[in-house]
Amino acid sequence: MKLLAKYNRVNIPITIGILLISSVAYYFILHYVLVHQLDKDLTIEQEEIFHHIGETGSLPEASDYRDQRISFAPVKEVDFKSKFSTEDSFDKMEGEVETFRRLDFPVNVKGHLYLATVKKSQQETEDLIRLILTITLSVIAFLLVLLFIANRVLLGKLWRPFNNTLDQLKRFNVSSKNKMHLQATDIDEFAQLNLTAVSMTEKVKNDYESLKSFTENASHEIQTPLAIIKTKIELLSQSENLDETQMNALQSLNEAATRLSKLNQALLLLTKIENSQFVQTEQVNLSSVMLCYVENLEELARTKNILITKHIKPDRFVEMNDSLAEILVSNVIINAIRHNRTNGNIEIDLDEKALTISNTGAEPSKPTSEFFERFRKGASSGDSLGLGLSIVKKICDRYNFPVSYNYADGIHSVKIEL
């Protein structure tokens, strides 16, 4: 969840809640104040009536205006001095029910007791409250929306240096030479983040560089003594006076040295791919590379009496390094030959979407997904190094080709989506 979303998720309900509660309170306070004002008006009216009676000694005329009605009714006895109340009464002129505030009080005119009633329409007050409330609420709502948008824009702006840094970190590649260019910022927290990101990536790069050169140097240094060992074995094996035991010993030595040398080469290749040392890419005609290797390896397949069927769409170009394309193609084909059975089949499909190589073979003893891991060998692979498919995987990863290994009904297939 985005920070803004999380912030809003807390912020918005609380704001709305507070607004609701305060508008209810606001309504009641406003209502109370205005009714109180109305009551004051009624009291003034009452005083005027008392004043009139004091002056003239008679009741003032009853009146029945729209917003003020005064009436008198003779009563025997009244047990209160004055009483405020609210009532709904039918307004004949308007033809609708209106709310009135009324004040009842007793008046004494020449010994006769009357109950005077002054009524004032509360409708206007109600209308006023409603109007004020509507205006206030809409202003607040407008303010809220404005605030929400402003927050969004402002936060987006404030977080821009952070997002920029994050973007660069995402694109960070240990093997690339270019440095990170982080936006300068006057926000302390982000400036610190940038500083840390730069120093950390530099350190990672340096560590990676030294590891890389160590791996390369080690591999190269191993290669030379290995070459000497192999050469000496080859030279020694030319001697005429070797007996079978000595020859067998030499043979074992040679096999071990060869295996070590191939392993070293394969690991060096993997390291090179990982280190992105095959930088140059070009439009490689995968179809012709495929055909060339199939032709070259067809005789190898024939030693196991394997039939190769191919459906290769001509001139399928792929943007990649040409050496890697060749390594990829030869590895998948050799893999399909090596793990095949005698009299088996290989089917090669290359079209716009994918390169698929299927071969007959024994049921795998391990989950097929593990075949791409280093040194994961199937049971039938004999003395293979177990690095072929991991090289394939590394190359595919390098160019973001999804690669999968499937087994069903005696058919193994490697599919590389191009």
């Binding site: 020859m247 067998n248 043979q251 003395d383 293979s384």
Partner: protein, 212 residues
């Protein structure tokens, strides 16, 4: 390393001279001419490619085979662009080196004449055809390469991994079963065509091509 190479090649009746360093190499190539120079790029006191440049500047016709410890494409392309005849990355088999040297010398010395004769066998390296007692012998591409490899390394023991690498390149690591099939087929074809049984298996180690 150079001694091993020299020992192997000398046994093939080549006469070999060793230059231990850059200075010696420049000196030797300046005053002599060779059928083939094996040039190690990683010399202790200079880049071997400089010697190649010098040779080409002097318009020398010596064949040059570059040997490099770095299995890097750049070296290969630079070397071949400078006019080297071939490129062999370390580590290599002496038999492979020998075959490459033989090919370079053949191209240099026998221009137009690409025939190799061994007893009743005649191999035409240009037309890629083989004749036994004058009759053409049908060989597959790999069988032809195999025969040529054997002939270049006559009387020498060639290990199975050297054969595998020569035929299939570096990719074919691991099982050598298929070598046996190839050798068996080649032997059978040679015998059927009236040739001798030249190819001998030497214990488990490899094979030897022995003319009569």
């Amino acid at each position: 390393m150079s001694e091993s190479i020299s020992a192997y090649l000398s046994a093939q009746d080549y006469s070999c001279e060793i230059a231990e360093n850059f200075a010696a190499a420049i000196h030797k190539t300046e005053y002599n001419s060779y059928d083939c120079i094996l040039l190690d790029i990683g010399l202790p006191d200079g880049n071997g490619l400089k010697i190649l440049e010098q040779l080409k500047e002097d318009k020398k016709a010596d064949g040059v085979l570059i040997i490099s410890a770095k299995n890097s494409l750049d070296d290969k392309i630079t070397g071949l662009n400078l006019g080297a005849d071939d490129y062999l990355p370390k580590p290599f088999h002496l038999s492979e080196l020998n075959a490459r040297v033989a090919a370079i010398i053949r191209r240099k010395n026998f221009e137009g004449n690409s025939l190799i004769e061994v007893d009743e066998l005649v191999i035409d390296t240009q037309k890629k055809s083989v004749y036994v007692n004058g009759n053409p012998l049908e060989l597959t591409k790999k069988e032809f390469e195999l025969l040529l490899y054997f002939v270049a390394n006559k009387k020498r023991l060639i290990s199975k991994d050297a054969i595998a690498e020569h035929l299939w390149g570096n990719d074919a690591n691991g099982s050598f079963d298929f070598i046996y099939t190839h050798i068996k087929n080649l032997r059978k074809k040679l015998l059927d065509a009236g040739g001798h049984d030249y190819i001998k298996s030497v214990y488990g180690m490899g094979y030897k091509f022995a003319p009569q």
